[in-house]
Amino acid sequence: MTAARLERRLAELRTARRPALIAYLTIGDPSVEDSLACARAALEAGADVLELGVPFSDPTADGPVIAAAAHRAIQAGGSLRAALRVAEALRRESDAPLVLFTYMNPILAFGERELPSAAVRAGADAALVVDLPPEEGQALRGAAREAELALIPLVAPTTSRERMDHLLAGARGFAYYVSVTGVTGSGDAPLAEAGREAAALQQRSGVPVVVGFGIDTPAKARLAAAAGAAGIVVGTALVRRIAAETSPAARLAAVAELVGALRSALEPA
């Protein structure tokens, strides 16, 4: 299981010629219970993989929407431990791959040697640490290898081709191509270009490469997928929808609607 579950699921999707739909949620916005319910709704509406966003007080790679969500989430009890509890609950009822999405500081507070096995015990398959380039975090990497927790590499438009290949060498699960030089929620991502880059990188490395940042409509999802991305990530758009609703039922409906629309857009023609 673990990294292997993620890889197996992505291989299945590939065989079915279906780009993976990856949904990001900030755990704890507006409450940890709501996040669990939204996660279920996203899976039901056709998300293939969930990113469980650990709220961090100083999210420097995030734009205003996710940064505000993180602050609300922290007030409401969101944390790395809460994200692990959500993973545990989801794992009891679903086989969908779960990715912890976090900054490094919550991991250090938890214990970088302890986190990977705790994450795998909770049912997580991978972790994406936004501020951890491959040169850093050797203790965490060692523990992750041992626990079979995939550490998802990020690739950016500023990354040289040489470095891209280095980043992906030995990667488990998938790699995340950041579509835009910017923070999450940036509006004008060149998604067709990002999709092509992702496809080329996937071809060279054999690792599935998904595209994220700036995908907020079915049309944009299709653009990245049609250009060859192995999957797309929706984050800010989903967080924004959840924040816009005031009742739990409306939140679930909003999640189902957006995820459903993205799912339909990604179905093979």
Partner: protein, 408 residues
């Protein structure tokens, strides 16, 4: 057995480069510039010429006789007190040494725009000044609380042509300004140089900023040898991110000289409302470096507090974390009230209005002198980095009742 060579950018277990992948190539480019351009004769000539003819370096070393006898009336502990006068730098603080160096570097890297964070506004003013001098557009991020409490520096930045961007998130102070500056940099990294204002942040910034601030200590050491005929027993500096302190310490690290950093204890460390990162922090990652940070058990950064905007920061440069860990330097703290009192004392004893940041260092001089006297058995010489002037703090000082006339 030989110890493994330390990785560049690491100080013991602290430092590194913990940033989003988007920034890694820019930091790698900057790292190359730090090792190739900064030591080059061409760069050194231009930078040092500016320090001499524009900043006013070397800054003087002043002997503070009246303050010394006030702090140690019997004269048993403090044989002499020496002030390294960074307040006499153009723009009023040590920050200009770094800002000019980084802007020169940015020009050589072909960057067309400069951004910076600022707390007290001194780094913002210094960066705006360097940008005006070279005709570069400049944007300064500053927490809303600091925009209020350091208003004169906001006006100065605007007068110099910089755009000041108030930051409304978090504690609305230096940490939040740095968050926004990093977000700007991630978005405009191809064209923009981020002029980090302290010896903090991802590699190579701590190394670069320390190098650009080392004239403070180099000059002070030579001046002390010339004026006092000896090295001091102790060197003291305030620590926000740690740039004036590391600039002062570097020159004395190989000497038998005690190094003291003074952090902001705010309303008292026990109240939880402070910025004493080394005194009360834990290992974490903030703004790109593994260092000591103020954080809770979930790894959320705890909002710091200090009356001094420049020390109101929940992290510290990684080199200081390492110097504290190895014991080569000692870190103490001073409260808001102690710092405020020190501003008044120094003004009235020496005729120098020091910055609230700087005042933290002055608040511990008496204790340090007594401590070092106990160790060495004789009255000691102490040298303090007077990192900046306090004009910017007048509103805070008046609001705290420090402007009241002296009872005659």
């Amino acid at each position: 057995m030989t110890a493994p060579a330390p990785r560049p950018g690491w100080f013991a277990e602290f430092g590194g480069r913990f940033v989003a992948e988007t920034l890694v190539p820019a930091l790698a480019e900057l790292e190359t510039a730090v090792t190739s351009i900064v030591p080059s004769e061409d760069f050194q000539r231009e930078w040092r010429e500016l320090l001499r003819t524009y900043v006013g370096r070397p800054t003087p070393l002043t002997r503070a006789t009246r303050l010394a006898s006030r702090l140690d009336p019997s004269g048993e502990a403090l044989a002499a007190l020496w002030l390294k006068r960074e307040d006499l730098c153009h723009t009023g603080a040590h920050k200009i040494n770094n800002a000019l160096g980084q802007v020169l570097l940015a020009l050589r890297l072909g960057k067309q725009r400069i951004i910076a964070e600022t707390g007290a506004g001194q780094h913002g003013v210094a960066t705006a000044t360097a940008c005006a001098l070279f005709g570069l557009p400049c944007e300064i991020y500053m927490g809303e609380l600091d925009v209020e409490r350091q208003a004169p520096n906001v006006s100065r930045m605007r007068m110099l042509g910089a755009r000041v961007r108030p930051v409304a998130s978090g504690s609305r102070t230096l940490k939040d300004a740095m968050n926004e500056a990093l977000r700007d940099w991630v978005t405009h990294v191809r064209t923009t140089h981020y002029c980090v204002g302290s010896a903090a942040g991802p590699h190579p910034y701590p190394t670069l900023v320390a190098e650009l601030q080392r004239p403070i200590g180099d000059e002070a050491r030579a001046q002390l040898l010339a004026e006092a005929g000896r090295l001091p027993r102790a060197v003291v500096a305030c620590v926000g991110g740690g740039s004036n302190a590391i600039g002062m310490f570097r020159a004395f690290e190989a000497d038998d000289v005690a190094l003291y950093g003074v952090e902001a204890a705010g309303e008292g460390i026990e109240t939880g409302r402070h910025a004493a990162t080394i005194g009360a922090g834990r290992v974490g990652v903030l703004h790109g470096a593994r260092t000591l940070v103020l954080a809770d058990d979930d790894g959320q950064i705890v909002e710091p507090h200090s009356v001094s905007a420049g020390l109101d920061y929940p992290g510290v440069g990684p080199e200081h974390a390492a110097l504290a860990r190895t014991g080569r330097a000692t870190y103490l703290s001073a409260t808001d009230d102690e710092a405020l009192a020190a501003v008044r004392d120094v003004a009235r004893a020496e005729g120098i209005l020091i910055a609230l940041e700087t005042a933290h260092a002055f608040a511990r001089i008496g204790d340090i002198a007594r401590r070092e006297r106990a160790r060495s058995g004789a009255a000691v010489h102490v040298a303090v980095c007077l990192s900046g002037r306090g004009d910017k703090d007048l509103a805070t000082l008046l609001a705290r009742g420090l402007g009241d006339e002296v009872a005659s």
